[in-house]
């Protein structure tokens, strides 16, 4: 079938959940298979870099790329797929905003390696061996990709045509994207395939007076399933998160974690969430505000759970870090 579309799926720094999400469309995968050939899908099929390199430019119709850009291989493969594809879709929270891997931007390469290869209780590494980019062995030279100090979102290394957020993206949005491509009925470049307003817009919970005296975590309380989480003092990122997920977490009594990123108009999801939380506090006493906000465990991680690469600060600034790669972006 000569008219079939050509898709590629690729993963960068990711957990594999986005790959599973593709399968979450269940039997509809057959419909996808009916309209498209999959030219690359590392999780399911064995394709080599050389195979992609051999393709003519723009040969692939759509590349769905998930994961953040953690190392030089992620960057190189993304650039290669960009070159070979008509459209690139940033697939999932990590590709869209850095996602969970980008929380490592509160650290840097050295401190991460130190933690992983030396400090963790399960590590025994008395000689302090760390992975090296180049290792000489009798057979020749072995190489590993360069580990960046900073995790980037996909749009920082290639031009992205469409954004499909979520951790992972929900099946209905994946199908909507595929259908739009199949029908040729494409939205303007740069469109986020999701809602525009915030999750609150779709959330059915009763919203009344938003005034709280402190915050608790979801496992510490039995929440009222009918009432706004924030009003119960439970941090919910719904108010600063783009709509379109179908309030999946809220439906099962879990507060929103923010995986769709900021809604249209919001510049920095984490800063906006912090601003919202402080607004809720029923006090004018600055010290009290400080103490309540300070009591939230891993506050920065909470605020920027999915969007550190997409934030104004992008990463923790480490004064002594003189990294050319940071400067180059």
């Amino acid at each position: 079938m000569a008219d079939k579309l050509k898709f590629a799926f690729y993963w960068n720094a990711s957990c594999g959940g986005c790959e599973v999400a593709v399968l979450d469309i269940h039997e509809k995968i057959l419909d996808v298979a009916a309209i498209a050939d999959i030219l690359m899908w590392p999780v399911a099929m064995d394709f080599k870099e050389e195979d992609v390199e051999a393709l003519p430019d723009q040969h692939i119709d759509v590349a769905f790329i998930n994961g953040g850009i953690r190392n030089s291989e992620n960057k190189k493969m993304s650039q290669l797929l960009r070159q070979k594809s008509k459209y690139v879709v940033a697939f999932g929270a990590c590709a869209n905003f850095g996602g969970i891997p980008a929380l490592a931007n509160f650290h840097h390469k050295e401190s991460i390696f130190d933690r992983v290869y030396s400090e963790t209780p399960s590590t025994v590494n008395p000689e302090g061996v760390w992975p090296q980019e180049i290792t000489e062995v009798p057979e020749g030279e072995l190489s590993l990709p360069t580990f960046f100090n900073t995790v980037y979102m996909l749009a920082e290394v290639v031009d992205v045509d469409y954004y499909l957020p979520g951790c992972p993206p929900p099946p209905d949005l994946i199908l909507a994207a595929v259908e739009a491509i199949a029908s040729g009925n494409l939205p303007p470049r740069g469109t986020v395939i999701a809602g525009e307003k915030s999750v609150c817009h779709s959330c059915d919970r009763v919203k009344e007076e938003k005034k709280v005296t402190g915050f608790r975590r979801i496992h510490e309380v039995i929440p009222d399933p009918e009432r706004c989480f924030l009003e119960q003092g439970i941090i919910c990122a719904g108010s600063v998160t783009r709509d379109g997920c179908g309030t999946r977490c809220l439906n099962v009594d879990m507060p929103c974690r923010g995986c769709f990123g900021a809604p249209e108009g919001v510049i920095d999801q984490g800063a906006q969430l912090l601003s919202t939380l402080t607004t809720l506090l029923d006090t004018d006493d600055l010290e009290e505000v400080r103490s309540i906000i300070g009591s939230i465990p891993d506050l920065s991680g909470y605020l920027y759970r999915f969007t550190l690469s997409d934030s104004l600060m992008k990463r923790r600034i480490v004064a002594e870090l003189k990294d050319k790669e940071v400067a180059s972006h």
């Binding site: 525009e196 307003k197 915030s198 609150c200 817009h201 919203k207 007076e209 938003k210 005034k211 108010s239 600063v240 809604p263 249209e264 108009g265 919001v266 510049i267 906006q272 969430l273 601003s275 919202t276 607004t279 809720l280 104004l312």
Partner: protein
């Protein structure tokens, strides 16, 4: 490269800025920044030649942006906006950078101050590149004033406004106007009788054709905005018809129920149906339901109604709610005195001969509980009297501020004691503050009357036998003094009324740390508030004596008159607006708005801003989770540019 044509003007502020900031260097540095076509420094930018310098450049260089690096925008932003407007430039294309308070006044380090001034100026230029021209709107002013509070401040304001030909409604929550001043005996420094000054003015109020007096009434709610306030006033049921009552006093005489008199500060009893004092305006009693036998169910009674020949008294009347339209509002709700709590070190509330200042005023007043006689609780003339200054004032355990009236009032008390008795008088004072006109002379006069001045705060009052003993450090002798007296007068602090927070909420006023209502600017706008069209008169804004209160009230009246005479008010375009597509209707902003400017559209499920009420504070903008709230002149891209400008500098 920006296409904007920006002029930068760095002010020396005499030497205020230039002594610490290298202003020429800042001007030179700015010259090189994107969009800047001209950059200058000048000794006084706010002076006429300074303003003309800017105006000339606007025309010659075709500027579409002006950055003035000088003092605080609160100080001179209006000045430079006016100058720009007069030169044909939209005033909102002017950006102020504060290199005085934020640079030269916070350090002596010239290098650092100059570096900071450059960064801030760079930031201001970045904002100026994105500033947009904004158009101002006008709102009409209803030529009718509401004055709240019938003390001397409210009376003065009402009379001034009415005398200028405008209608005034004066609302007073008690049964009569007069306020605290009606309780006083004599006034300092002239020692003329308080009532002699006050009561003619009270009469003038009730007789003035332009003034409508609503006593025993309270403002419940204020809607609308400058020029068209809609005010809901509750007329509490007085049970005495003011149109019928002749003020004969028969009802009071026959009323069988009595309680402690608030007007006499608890030193006498009053009837349940009574008039606060002889010259009350209106001259008609109020039936106090709290103590009335009929209302408390003690008896059917109704004696008052039966003896009333005018048939003015009826029972079980409902409160009347009226809605009135006003263009301006003057708040003159006054002060209260501090009454030391139980267990206080001065024995107040414990020993019957320890009085507060108002109690002394009542006692000394010829129409007071003792007909003006100064006697102890034993009915005897005191042999010695102590007057204690600064009780609860200048005291970090109570009120940090100076109450401004007590020093002179204390001297007055000493004089009255001397005049009326043969008692020795001891004044315990920390500092003698006699700052007003004629006050130092008054102090000198009292000093010649044989008063014992002890420099040191009266720290404790105890009882030894028949005598009260005042203990305090005599700082001049360096000894602890214990002075036995028969009567102690505590000149306690003036403080914000207990219901000040409620009043603040009703009128959207702000309160300072001490509870006094906040003026817009201590020096430039002492009678204005952050709410356009709402003014402050008298002690609700801070402690004041009578001359200052009357002057302040006159100022508030002038502010109110200015608006009504102009007939319209320019509205600042720096206000918030809603981007409806982003609004999710979460309502966070509504409860945060200090000016009640945001309402909720139930159909569209979005927030709606009443622009005329919005003061552009930005609380809603900061709180909005979805960034649906924006503030003109402080748009995100403008603020982000400012931040970038700081780092670029």
């Amino acid at each position: 490269m920006s296409e904007r044509r920006i002029g930068v003007y760095v002010c020396h502020c005499g030497t205020n800025i230039s002594k610490t900031v290298d202003v020429e260097d800042v001007a030179k540095y700015s010259q090189g920044l994107d969009g800047v076509v001209v950059s200058k420094d000048y000794k006084y930018m706010c002076s006429q030649p300074g303003q003309e310098l800017i105006q000339k450049d606007i025309k010659e260089h075709g500027l579409d942006g002006v950055v003035v690096a000088a003092c605080s925008p609160r100080m001179h932003e209006p000045t430079f906006q006016r100058a720009a407007r007069n030169a044909g430039l939209n005033p909102y294309l002017v950006e102020m950078v504060n290199i005085r308070e934020q640079c030269s006044w916070v350090t002596d380090d010239r290098a650092l101050a100059t570096a900071k001034a450059k960064r801030l100026t760079s930031s201001g230029i970045a904002k100026a590149r994105l500033n947009r021209a904004l158009e101002t709107d006008f709102t009409a002013i209803t030529p009718r004033a509401l004055v709240v509070g019938g003390g001397i401040a409210g009376i003065e304001a009402a009379l001034k406004i009415a005398a200028s030909g405008y209608e005034v409604v004066l609302v007073e929550k008690e049964g009569t106007i007069g306020g605290q001043m009606a309780k006083f005996d004599k006034t300092f420094p002239t020692l003329d009788c308080s009532a002699c000054i006050l009561t003619p003015k009270m009469v003038e109020v009730v007789q003035h054709p332009k003034i409508e007096l609503m006593t025993y009434s309270e403002v419940q709610r204020v809607d609308g905005y400058v020029g068209s306030f809609e005010v809901t006033i509750e007329k509490k049921p007085r049970d005495v018809d003011l149109n019928l009552c002749t003020g004969c006093g028969d009802c009071t005489e026959k009323c069988p129920a009595s309680v402690l008199s608030e007007f006499d500060e608890g030193l006498s009893m009053r009837k349940s149906i009574s008039t606060a004092f002889a010259q009350a305006i209106p001259n008609a009693p109020v039936l106090d339901r709290e103590s009335c036998w009929y209302y408390t169910g003690k008896a059917k009674c109704q004696v008052c109604a039966r003896v009333c020949q005018a048939n003015a008294i009826t029972f079980d009347n409902e409160p009347e709610i009226v809605k009135e339209q006003f263009g301006v509002i003057v708040v003159a709700t006054g002060f209260d005195i501090l009454r030391p709590e139980e267990g206080n070190q001065w024995g107040y509330g414990k020993y019957p001969d320890v009085f507060n200042g108002l109690q002394f005023e009542r006692m000394s007043n010829a129409s007071g509980p003792t007909d003006g006689l100064l006697v102890t609780s034993q009915g005897k003339e005191p042999e010695a009297v102590a007057v204690l200054h600064c009780i609860g004032s200048r005291d970090e355990n109570y009120r940090e501020y100076c109450s401004r009236t007590c020093c002179m009032a204390s001297l007055k008390f000493a004089h009255l004691v001397k005049e009326k008795t043969n008692a020795e008088v001891y004044e315990f004072y920390i500092d003698m503050r006699s700052f007003g006109k004629g006050y130092e002379e008054f102090y000198n006069r009292i000093q010649e009357e044989g008063i014992n001045f002890i420099r040191g705060k009266g720290a404790e009052v105890t009882k030894k036998g028949e005598k009260l003993v005042v203990r305090g450090e005599d700082q001049q002798l360096g000894v602890i003094r214990e002075v036995p007296v028969d009567m102690v007068i505590l000149n306690t602090a003036l403080q914000a009324r207990e219901d000040a927070a409620k009043i603040a909420e009703t009128f959207s006023l702000q309160q300072g740390q001490d509870g006094w209502f906040m003026e817009l600017h201590a020096k430039l706008a002492p009678g204005k508030t952050a709410v356009e069209g709402v003014f402050l008169a008298g002690t609700c804004q801070g402690p004041r004596d009578i001359p200052d209160t009357v002057a302040h009230a006159g100022g508030a009246a002038a502010d109110a008159l200015r608006l009504m005479a102009a007939g319209q008010q320019e509205m600042s375009p720096v206000s918030a607006y809603v981007v409806e597509e982003y609004c999710t209707g979460c309502k966070v902003c509504i409860s945060l708005c200090p000016y009640d400017a945001i309402s909720f559209d139930e159909d569209g499920k979005v927030a709606v801003i009443t622009t005329a009420l919005c003061k552009g504070c930005g609380a809603c903008v900061a709180s909005c989770p979805t960034n649906a709230m924006h503030l003109r002149h402080f748009e995100d891209e403008q603020i982000l540019a400012q931040i970038e400008g700081v780092f670029a500098g």
